[in-house]
């Protein structure tokens, strides 16, 4: 399929290196991932949450309660769309039906930004529904840059990409993950979602200092932090998002605040979902820590 032919006014040759010119998204404050277990409490109360991140695919549906609830959330709070299936680094042809559904949802939600992960989820028509790792090669970088540009042209907005937790590294990598992310952002114009927990997990799994990763990311490209929990297996850490944020990750968050400054931050819990009050304590801590670190200069 000729993908460029489905982009208005685009040709394959015009998909050259061309950073998106959109302005850096504004700071939203301290937010939470929206989960259906908390719908009623949020809509019937007034929890101290500045904004919500929603999983895009949970609302890429024909209708019913999820979309009706999302509409009500959008009336009250700023919302950011976070996807898990864009498969931006896949070598399979881009799934334009998926992108159209994402674009339709964005039209409804009017999110402050649309994010996904620097990963792939499958090839040859199959979806593994996982955030799979890539080799950090020039070939992969060129491919992902052109794919990000295509998606940004299709959606009509710069996207935000997140570093994923990885369990393996490829022996043909030619650069570090942070060099790859920095170049990707510089060349494509995409913004970065710095997942503090994922940096911690990958640094442990691959044996590098998370501060080296942190200091390798350009400070002006980061628009969002994720904070989450994980499961420690002794020899490696699995990014399960089913625990509270651990103290080491809070410490890395403080370092991230020092480097990146005031960045929209959220607590991301995907499994073993606790009562809302428990997550509000973590949201409050992101706020307090940011005030503390940033006021200290």
């Amino acid at each position: 399929m000729n993908v460029a032919s489905r982009l208005p006014g685009m040709s394959a040759t015009s998909l050259a290196e061309r950073p998106a010119t959109s302005a850096k998204p504004a700071f939203l404050g301290f937010g939470l991932g929206l989960r259906h277990q908390h719908y009623d409490e949020i809509l019937n109360g007034d929890p101290p949450i500045d904004w919500f991140e929603v999983i895009s695919e949970n609302y890429m549906l024909p209708g019913g309660q999820p979309l009706r609830t999302l509409d009500r959330i959008c009336e009250r709070y700023p919302v950011v769309m976070h996807g898990v299936s864009m498969s931006i680094a896949s070598t399979a042809p881009p799934n334009l039906d998926y992108l159209q559904a994402l674009k339709d949802l964005a039209k409804r939600v009017e999110p402050k930004w649309v994010s996904d992960h620097l990963c792939w989820t499958g090839v040859h028509g199959k979806n593994l529904h996982d955030l799979l790792p890539i080799p950090y090669t020039q070939e992969a970088l060129d491919h992902v840059v052109s794919r990000v540009q295509l998606v940004q042209d299709f959606l009509g907005r710069a996207i935000v990409l997140e570093n994923v937790s990885t369990y393996v590294q490829f022996n043909n990598s030619e650069m570090t993950e942070w060099e790859f992310l920095s170049e990707l952002s510089r060349r494509s114009g995409c913004w970065l979602l710095f997942d503090v927990n994922n940096v911690y997990v990958s640094a442990f799994n691959h044996g590098y200092d998370p501060l080296t990763f942190l200091n390798g990311i350009p400070a002006d490209r980061v628009v969002q932090f994720h904070m989450a929990g994980h499961s420690h297996m002794g020899t490696h850490i699995i990014d399960t998002h089913d625990h509270p944020v651990c103290e080491d990750v809070w410490e890395l968050y403080a370092a991230a605040l020092k480097r990146f400054g005031r960045v929209s931050t959220m607590i991301e819990r995907d499994d073993n979902i606790p009562p809302l009050d428990e997550l509000l304590l973590e949201v409050a801590r992101t706020r307090e820590m940011a005030e503390q670190v940033l006021s200290a200069g």
Binding site: T91, D130, L132, A140, T235
Partner: protein, 259 residues
């Protein structure tokens, strides 16, 4: 094929088929061997998708129990890899898979089909709901040519087993009845009322009337058809009664005077 594409294909084969070729391109970590680390992806693939099926088929899970459900789930994951980027649609093929792979237990496929129908009704397309007051606008002489359009969430299902009774017992935390084949199939109508998925069993003549109404047959003809099922003298009354039930349940999205 680029080297990147070749590597992704090998990585995917490693997860789906247990092919170890890709391990030659992966590094050991300072603390762990590469096969263990790659195993995180292999394990996560199966467990994540079985969990997705479990979430969609809570009562089938309860009926089978953990062990049998996991075995069935992994067999489904193996036989029917996900083709859709949204995991919401992964378990759509489960009733067909069970019909073929568990053909000696037809109640499993039908229990899954009922859960699937309810899931589909839950997030089906929105549609206007016809109210009883809308019907007052039609002149008496128009009634015989009224045509009806079902709400987008409405669907019909015919079950050869007592899967609906099994569903009901499981839903109420009761011991389900023994699975049996019914003498006469159960005719179910599934839909969403406001935000809640519902189903009910239809008598044979109401099922006929619903199916024909959904095909665009006007009310006058529907009543003539009802007359062949039971007492012809009160066929129109029975038809009006069924129609009243559909409207109060939010089952219709449009009523119009058709040619």
């Amino acid at each position: 094929m680029s080297n990147f594409a070749r590597q992704q294909a090998a990585f995917q084969r490693g997860i789906l088929d247990g092919d170890e070729t890709v391990l030659a391109e992966i590094l050991d970590s300072p603390r762990e061997k590469r096969d263990v680390l790659f195993g995180v992806y292999r394990y996560a693939y199966g467990s994540r998708l079985v969990e997705a099926v479990r979430n969609d088929h809570e009562l089938l899970h309860r009926y089978l129990g953990d062990e049998a459900f996991d075995e069935m789930g992994h067999a489904y994951v193996k036989a029917c890899p996900s083709r859709h980027p949204n995991v919401r649609w992964f378990s759509q093929g489960l009733p067909a898979f069970l019909k073929s792979a568990y053909s000696r237990h037809p109640e499993l496929a039908e229990l899954a089909a009922l859960e699937k129908a309810l899931n589909d009704a839950f997030d089906a397309k929105e549609g206007r709901v016809v109210e009883l007051t809308d019907m007052a606008g039609f002149a008496p002489e128009d009634w015989s040519s009224l045509r009806f359009r079902p709400h987008p969430s409405a669907a019909r299902l015919e079950l050869a087993t007592n899967a609906a009774a099994i569903w009901l017992a499981l839903k109420n935390d009761e011991t389900p009845p023994e699975a049996t084949t019914l003498d006469d199939p159960a005719r179910l109508l599934i839909w969403r009322q406001d935000v809640t998925p519902m189903f009910r069993e239809l008598p044979a003549e109401e099922a006929m009337m619903w199916d024909e109404a959904a095909n665009g047959i006007p009310f006058g003809v529907l009543c003539e058809m009802l007359a062949t099922y039971d007492d012809p003298d009160n066929a129109a009354g029975r038809g009006a009664g069924y129609l009243h039930g559909w409207i109060t349940a939010g089952l219709l999205t449009d009523v119009s005077v058709g040619a």
